[in-house]
């Protein structure tokens, strides 16, 4: 599948001397939902801002559907819609006027039918004649999404779209994102809510300190970096991990009522059989056992905070 966005050796140093991006290489596939994860200040917004034309790159290049964002900025930008992180809206305009403005600004002739569809999809139709300043925060977020969709972009950037958004809007938004993808659009989102990436994204990129730590298919990532835990509910509580088992990655939980064993799901030898045998030898009895897989969040925390583990592609 061909790339809709190609980022090559992208570097950004702000005038303050802060180096926000360090040699980013990234290919976004046509029609995918790509989630960009990273802690605050990792460079997510800088990367998006460069692709959208708001910030100038220090070095490197970006192509959108084959159009260089600097040389061929008109073609490149007309394909992109951006929903920014901040709730920046005109206060005194009506919803309808601001949408018409956005569509015109991106070089599209008026199309009231399209704007109506966008507003209805976002449950904003009955607010079309309201001044934006009279709307709630969640409604303003919807207006920003509607503005970004007003010119029928092929690529939609959502920068922290669900920060401070209620559950209903979140669900509406994900429904809309899926529908856009079904229509062939590409969606790139940044988020703090890792469950969201886990639920929505096809691929995930983790960015930290201006570098892409990993870019991987979501399922592959979770399989590759995922860890499993075996929890044993004990018959009688223990006061500590028995010294005979000190060589194993064991922890006590629930005040000594359960024993947790962490293992690598991909390893040839998980060590479960050996563990159970040794428990039997020590006379430790258990009533129940279950295993659980780590979430994307655990993987993310492991990648960003627990030192960089090398990830073979």
């Amino acid at each position: 599948m061909s790339s809709i966005i190609s980022v090559r050796q992208l570097d950004k140093t702000y005038r303050s001397g802060f180096r926000a991006l360090r040699g980013i290489d990234l290919e976004i596939r046509r029609g995918e939902i790509f989630a960009l994860l990273g802690p605050n200040g990792a460079g997510k917004t800088t990367l998006i801002s460069i692709i959208c034309g708001i910030v100038n790159a220090s070095a490197g290049s970006v192509e959108v559907d084959g159009h260089d964002i600097a040389r061929d900025y008109r073609k490149a930008r007309s394909l992109i819609g951006l929903v920014p992180q901040e709730l920046s809206t005109d206060a005194f305009e009506t919803v309808w006027a601001t949408l018409r403005f956005s569509r015109g600004l991106f070089g599209k002739p008026p199309d009231p039918a399209h704007l109506e569809r966008v507003l209805r999809d976002l449950s904003l139709w009955d607010k079309k004649d309201s001044k934006i300043m009279t709307l709630s925060g969640g409604m303003k977020r919807r207006v920003l999404i509607a503005k970004a969709l007003a010119h029928e972009p092929r690529v939609l950037f959502l920068d922290e779209p669900t920060a401070g958004v209620d559950v209903e809007l979140r669900h509406d938004m994900w429904r809309m994102v899926r529908r856009l993808r079904d229509d062939g659009a590409t969606i790139i989102l940044t988020t703090h809510y890792i469950e969201e990436a886990e639920e929505m994204a096809d691929r995930i990129g983790v960015i930290d300190k201006g570098e892409l730590v990993v870019v991987e298919d979501k399922h592959v990532l979770m399989r590759k970096l995922g860890r499993k835990q075996l929890t044993l509910t004990l018959q009688s509580p223990l006061s500590g991990v028995p010294s005979a088992l000190a060589d194993l990655p064991l922890e006590l939980a629930q005040g000594g009522h359960s024993l947790v064993y962490t293992f690598d799901a991909q390893a040839q030898e998980t060590g479960i059989a050996a563990l159970l045998r040794r428990l039997g030898e020590l006379g430790i009895e258990y009533r129940d056992l279950n295993t659980s897989e780590s979430s994307l969040e655990d993987i993310f925390v492991g990648l960003v905070h627990g030192g960089r583990r090398e990830v073979a592609a």
Binding site: K75, A76, G104
Partner: protein, 253 residues
């Protein structure tokens, strides 16, 4: 050229004008009318003619210029400063537009508004003092050129300003003194010889003088120099705007 974008910006800005009609149209017309009442009728009736023109009529071109400069600058500077302040500028920066469309939209709207205002003041003046217009074509040309030039200048101030104080400092501290000393209320021939020379460094002198020539055929400086001065200033502003957008100065980090 993205014509839809020009139209979108222009409409957006004109809508802002009509939304704030009291502030942007009514109040300048009222304050200029007060000048006519005070200087034209009350004080002017006790003053002699200047170059064969009654004082009330003499100050009309200068007063129109005064409003035109102030309003062009404030309209255009607010027009571009507000999106920066509110953060909505992101949309303009991410749009497939070059500085040409942005300038045509914003400056075009600000200049339109100023020309409307100038014509309104001219009509209002008729209620207080009789006057004639000797060269209507040149009168209109000066009106439009000045409106465009100073809207551009205001646009640059709006781009440069990063707080409200900076937005106000040039109009209040530089432009207002220059307009008051620019011969709106007097002929520079009435000044002492040294000041007659110094005042020629004030660009507003050329605007007022040229504009007054289009009304009464009298001028302090050669009208051709007036035309050159305003065109020169227009070109300087265009180059400045082009440079700002090319380098991203204060817009793109």
């Amino acid at each position: 050229m993205n014509l839809h974008a020009i139209r979108a910006i222009y409409r957006f800005e004109m809508a802002r004008t009509f939304r704030t009609i009291t502030q942007s149209i009514a109040s300048p017309v009222l304050s200029t009318s007060l000048y006519f009442v005070v200087f034209g009728s009350a004080i002017g009736s006790r003053m002699g003619e200047i170059d064969g023109v009654s004082y009330g009529a003499f100050i009309i071109p200068g007063l129109i210029m005064l409003s035109l400069l102030n309003e062009s600058i404030s309209n255009a500077s607010f027009g571009i400063y507000m999106p920066k302040w509110a953060g909505t500028i992101f949309e303009l920066l991410s749009a497939p537009v070059s500085f040409v469309e942005v300038v045509l939209g914003y400056v075009g709207a600000a200049a339109t508004k100023s020309v409307m205002l100038g014509v309104l003041i001219l009509v209002t003046a008729r209620l207080f003092v009789p006057y004639e217009i000797a060269h209507p074509f040149w009168m209109l040309a000066f009106l439009v050129l000045t409106a465009v030039t100073f809207s551009l200048f205001g646009f640059i101030i709006g781009l440069w300003a990063d707080d409200f104080q900076k937005l106000q400092v040039i109009p209040l501290m530089v432009v207002t003194p220059l307009t008051f000393l620019g011969g709106a209320f007097y002929s520079i021939q009435m000044l002492p010889p040294v000041w007659q020379k110094l005042t020629l460094f004030n660009p507003v002198v050329y605007l007022v003088s040229g504009f007054r020539w289009s009304f009464y055929g009298i001028s302090d400086v050669d009208v051709r120099i007036s035309v050159l001065a305003i065109i020169g200033f227009l070109v300087a502003c265009l180059v400045a705007v082009w440079w700002i957008f090319r380098t991203g100065y204060k817009l793109r980090s």
